[in-house]
Amino acid sequence: MHALEIDHLTKRYGDNLAVDDLTFRVEPGRVTGFLGPNGSGKSTTMKILLDLATADDGSATIGGTRYRELADPFRTVGVILEPNAFHPARTGRNHLRVVADAGNLPSTKVGETLRLVGLSDAADRGVGTYSLGMRQRLGLAAALLGDPPILVLDEPANGLDPEGIRWLRDLLRSRAADGKTVFVSSHLLAEVEHLADDVVVINRGRLVTTGAIADLRKIGTSVRTPSKRSLITALDGADCLVETQIDGSLLVSGIPAAEIGDRALAAGVALHELSPHVGSLEDLFMGWTASPTATDAPPTKKEKVLT
């Protein structure tokens, strides 16, 4: 099984620091979403991983090996980087034949993969006549041609219709279920929420947060009490953040629900609700990346917000 390891990666373009001491790991058997605003360094990180760009510092490896040292790259990693990386006059079938030749893959795989991505009927048309969605499917076909255990896909859902997005989701999930590594950058947060098990979030080239989506979405504990001020006083000294929600409940983050309950009990504060608060990925993402200086993980050192 192949994990992808990004270790203290740094890349500069002139004075612009595109990737800044970035470290994270992508595990096999899971779909990992790679999120960040435009220009945050996602594509640059992928290009360095694939040895298409050179890092100024740090390393990016595939199962501990640099891409350029892989014995059989096309049977190891399937890649989508740019949606329009085709010669417009070349047919889809011929594009895949070129890829098959270069990757030493049997030409019989071409027809098979075209069927898999639903492009058989358009295979003998010039790619210049394809819609963006069809080009994405052709890019996916090229990535899947060698049936690699790793997929590195930059915005693969761009231009796909809802049916195509669902097909892509099922395909990637089934590959992850087979123990393969799937690393997908996307700006479609709702889609990543459906698709990914883990996320890596970067902003301005730096890691913002990484982990299982299910864990990251548990952003705190929703608490209802008739004695808000008493509860806030009871939580004084705990390393937590307390915010008032629109519905009047309190959102307490930074400490477990059990500690909130214990402190309330000790202070004699009645609680009417104590439940996990789950945020949407979109809300979380906006919080992680909204500030121009937001390059740290969601605050761990909490400060109290008085209501």
Binding site: K47, L52, P73, A85, A102
Partner: protein, 248 residues
């Protein structure tokens, strides 16, 4: 083995676009222009001096410099559009050793540049052979001279294509690469020859004249070597750039 599969992929790439046919059409057009020039030149006062000796016909039907320019444009477009279309990416992903990937492309481009020169040289002589009798002249070229002209044309086309591919890999923009190739092959040499007297013998046109048998200085081997250097320098610079720069 990996080099061979890259070579196969590059060959298929070239064969699955219309560019090679377009360039073959261009050399056909140039040959047709030569035929028209013969037909029109026959009516002038200088016609006899233009067509009635082996030397004059050798000069008239020499396609070498055309082959080098057309080959240069071909190489520049093929190499630069790989970056413009993003189709360089699969090749560098398949062959992460970038020298190997570029060498495969270079080999195919140089080969086809040679084909362009070969076809152009042959068509030009054929055009002359067809046009000269129409205006009451005979084709005087002996077979060995005709073969040498065609071989020179093939060599010049191949070297020009290599030169163009080097420029294309360096500039990565088809328009810019074509402009640079034209500047180097068409505009630069006359200017250099005017500025530096001794340089005149070393510009492509003069070297091709030697290889074609139209001039004697420098020697044939030296001329072939010098012409090869015209192609090799951009190739080496292009390969160095490919190795050093990010692909995308």
């Amino acid at each position: 083995m990996s080099w061979l599969r890259l070579l196969k992929a590059e060959s298929r790439k070239l064969a699955t676009t219309r560019l090679p046919l377009g360039f073959l059409a261009v050399v056909g057009l140039v040959a047709a222009v030569v035929a028209v020039a013969v037909l029109m030149g026959a009516g002038t006062d200088d016609a006899e001096g233009l067509f009635d000796t082996i030397e004059a016909q050798t000069s008239l039907l020499s396609f070498g410099m055309n082959a080098m320019i057309i080959g240069g444009l071909f190489g520049a477009i093929v190499a630069a559009r790989e970056y413009a279309h993003g189709t360089a990416v699969p090749m560098f992903l398949a062959g992460p050793n970038r020298y190997r990937a570029m060498l495969a492309q270079l080999a195919v481009v140089v080969f086809f540049g040679g084909v362009i020169g070969l076809v152009g040289g042959g068509l030009t002589i054929a055009a002359g052979a067809l046009a000269l009798p129409v205006v009451d002249f005979q084709l005087l070229l002996p077979v060995d001279v005709a073969v040498r002209l065609v071989a020179t044309s093939a060599l010049a086309g191949a070297i020009g294509a290599g030169l163009g591919a080097g420029i294309g890999a360096l500039i990565r923009n088809p328009g810019g690469a074509v402009t640079a190739a034209v500047a180097i092959l068409l505009l630069g040499p006359p200017i250099v020859a005017q500025l530096v007297n001794d340089a005149a013998a070393w510009v492509p046109g003069s070297l091709i004249d030697v290889i074609s048998g139209l001039a004697q200085e420098p020697s044939l081997v030296t001329a072939i070597g010098a012409l090869a250097i015209w192609g090799l320098v951009p190739v080496v610079i292009g390969m160095f750039a490919v190795q050093r720069r990010d692909v995308i």
